[in-house]
Point group: C2
């Protein structure tokens, strides 16, 4: 059994009423971290924690008499535009902060009056990246994504044999990881022009999203030896939603033999909130892994991992075209996927990353890879959903979509739920695609 | 014509006699930067510049009366373990520093006496990385490497069509970029065991080196539009020698479809000196590019680039086994390659990297990709030289080598030469492979 504590009790309510709304992403049991500032106020970014529809402005905690030493330390560490100092505290530090923040927010808290002065409306905030991203590694762990993309490109294909043997990955680009709310310029690049039998340079004609979770490492690893699988999660500060924007036409042309490069590194966007693994503990479950020809190799295997290594996080993706926006049509849900249906767990990804002695650093970002399910409405990208554009979908506005068009807003929301428990939400990742920027030459 | 100035005059001599030795890597015309400290002295790393067999301890310049304002600024910027503040000055700043340092060192310098107190013997120094590496991108630009590796794996193969259309690349890992003098632990990882028809985990059986140059960016780019090709080199602070250590058995198993990951990210090593492009100006030449089916696309093409875009840098690789070391046998040269025989120039690599709006940052490291020539003794890696181990070579000690063995020291040295000019050397990159580290589980 996974040990739980008082912060996981679903009956505990907060004196901040909006947190008790069953539809809130941020009940007192969640307490995710962010970097934010009040919009338009010209003030500096600082660290915060979500509760209901509010943000606790963490540096302000320093002004409250009688709070714990840990929270006083937290206030000091929170006064910059990065969660890095908090991330470096490690799992036991994160837990102490969770416990102390929780106590401030329960209905019987004695800090209600002074804490009111530390609250900022989420609706009036703007958000930054959680920290400077050190290295970004993107995995490939959903068997349904692997199979459906393979078949969209070549009917009857199966995932490659190595997919079943390890959580594969490629290195991504950290300089273009950006916070939610970005305008994503349609990238320009090279693609193969089949008709004219030559390469051409211009705006991508097959711009796609990919539904992923982002995994932010708080603690590095520098031992030259692999991390034991049951210790791997201790290095994870928390999770967010990640959109791995992809230009399929560039990817098809550049992908062999070195993998994705310019097809992916123009933009990777992250949702504002980092949900800790502690908040997700009560939801842990076994992975619904597809049976594989060979057993999992020892270094990737443990009882804890196989029985409780997964998190049933559901991610919903919706698209809103500029026409829909003008005509007041609600964003249209295109996919609902669940992270527990993958082939590999978070712990397996982290351990495999260190299998060769590769060092990890605080601030490293891992992507889970596109998360898909077997069904058509469980497609983590348009390449799957529209069979690489061959079967466009029809939006409620009557417009067709093979791939993402300029003006489209792509929205992702995630939550972790279980019977009898509050929902642990991830907030919203929302970005709008705009036309390719013209160059100056 | 490429404009030259007084710092390129091959007749100018230094009052530091060792710099006038024609066999020195570091004549007064070179002046490469480094981060160093006197060995064993317990002092902090700081920035330096090579001259002959000496290093100018740059922070010490602050103590010299009457030196230029620029050198006084340089002294201040040099007092940390990173070239980053100097790298951010940009091309015009780098040039002013080169001119002023050059004047300090000519035979008619009036600063000889005070400058003597700022010199440290190279032989007594240890070296660090030039800066924290932001993102590491490794290119694939030698047609001979592309062809010879393809044929080593499958006789009769040719480079893929996209190779001729753009300088392809993949993202590498910056956390494991390390300075010369490293002990490289043989990595462990997954490979396919053909005989038993299953994946196994263990030490790599096909550990390889790759001869590359490293390209350190001093100035970033954040415009969302491609860098014009003729401005691309202004972003390059300088070059060094790079060994892209590779585990061929892991690469074969993990490489499809996402490219190299754990096969490459256990170690990437850099030589200590960053040679500026200004020092290399007189040697610029046209690339000896292989004719391609289609013309180079506009954004990658310019007259300057096609006529003067290449640098004839020769890199020599030698191997010394532990037996050779014990028996006093000199390291054995296995390859001599020249960077001007590639398919793509530095400017083309930088511009292509930004073709999709990808941002670059000061501190980014690019690898040129393995540099090879057509001949057998122009093989940039053992995969080429031994035909993937099928044709092992014999060392002077009588030992055979299919791939790198534990105890082997791999040494690379580079230089740029031209008739009537001093040689611009890069110093030495030297690392020793040691046994796989046992894990604790």
């Amino acid at each position: 059994m996974i040990p739980l504590d008082f912060t996981h009790d679903p009956k505990t309510r907060s004196w901040i009423e909006s947190a008790n709304d069953p539809d809130s992403d941020f009940p007192i049991q969640n307490l995710p971290f962010t970097v934010f500032r009040p919009q338009g106020a010209g003030t500096a970014f600082r660290c915060g924690v979500a509760i209901g529809d509010q943000i606790i402005d963490l540096p302000m905690l320093a002004q409250i008499d009688g709070i714990s030493t840990s929270l006083r330390t937290l206030a000091k560490l929170s006064a910059s535009d990065s969660l890095a100092p908090i991330m470096r505290l490690g799992a036991s530090g994160w837990r102490i902060l969770r416990h102390d923040l929780f106590r401030l927010l329960t209905v019987d808290s004695t800090f209600k009056a002074p804490l009111r002065g530390c609250l900022v409306d989420q609706a009036s905030a703007e958000f930054a990246l959680p920290c400077v991203v050190s290295d970004f590694t993107d995995f490939y762990t959903s068997v349904h994504h692997a199979r459906k993309t393979a078949r969209a490109l070549k009917p009857g294909s199966e995932p490659p044999a190595n997919f079943y043997s390890m959580p594969m990955a490629y290195h991504g680009r950290s300089s273009t990881v950006r916070p939610s709310g970005s305008e994503v310029n349609r990238p320009q690049g090279q693609r193969w022009d089949k008709e004219n039998d030559r390469a051409v340079y211009g705006p991508s004609t097959r711009l796609d999203y990919e539904i992923e979770l982002g995994v932010l490492l708080g603690i590095g690893h520098k031992d030259s030896t692999p991390l034991p699988i049951d210790k791997a999660e201790q290095h994870i500060f928390g999770l967010c939603v990640l959109n791995d924007w992809s230009a399929r036409d560039f990817q098809a042309w550049e992908g062999r033999p070195l993998g994705p490069f310019l097809a992916k590194n123009f933009a990777t966007t992250l949702s504002p909130w980092i949900v800790t693994l502690d908040a997700l503990r009560p939801y842990r479950c076994a992975l619904r892994r597809e049976s594989a020809p060979n057993p999992v190799l020892d270094y990737l295997d443990s009882e804890l991992n196989s029985q409780h290594g997964a998190y049933p996080i559901e991610i919903r993706l919706a698209l809103e075209s500029s026409t829909m926006r003008k005509r007041g049509i609600e964003p249209q849900t295109l996919a609902r996927v669940n992270f527990s249906g993958g082939q590999w767990t978070l712990a397996q990804m982290v351990t495999h990353h260190t299998a060769n002695g590769c060092s990890l650093r605080s601030g490293d970002l891992l992507g889970t890879g596109t998360i898909s399910g077997p069904g058509q409405h469980e497609s983590g990208c348009l390449l799957e959903l529209t069979k690489n554009g061959k079967e466009p979908i029809t939006l409620k506005s009557g417009e067709k979509r093979a791939y993402v068009e300029d003006g489209d807003r792509v929205i992702m929301q995630a939550q972790c739920t279980a019977v009898g428990r509050r929902r642990i939400g991830f907030g919203t990742l929302s970005d709008t695609v705009v036309a390719a920027k013209q160059d100056h030459r």
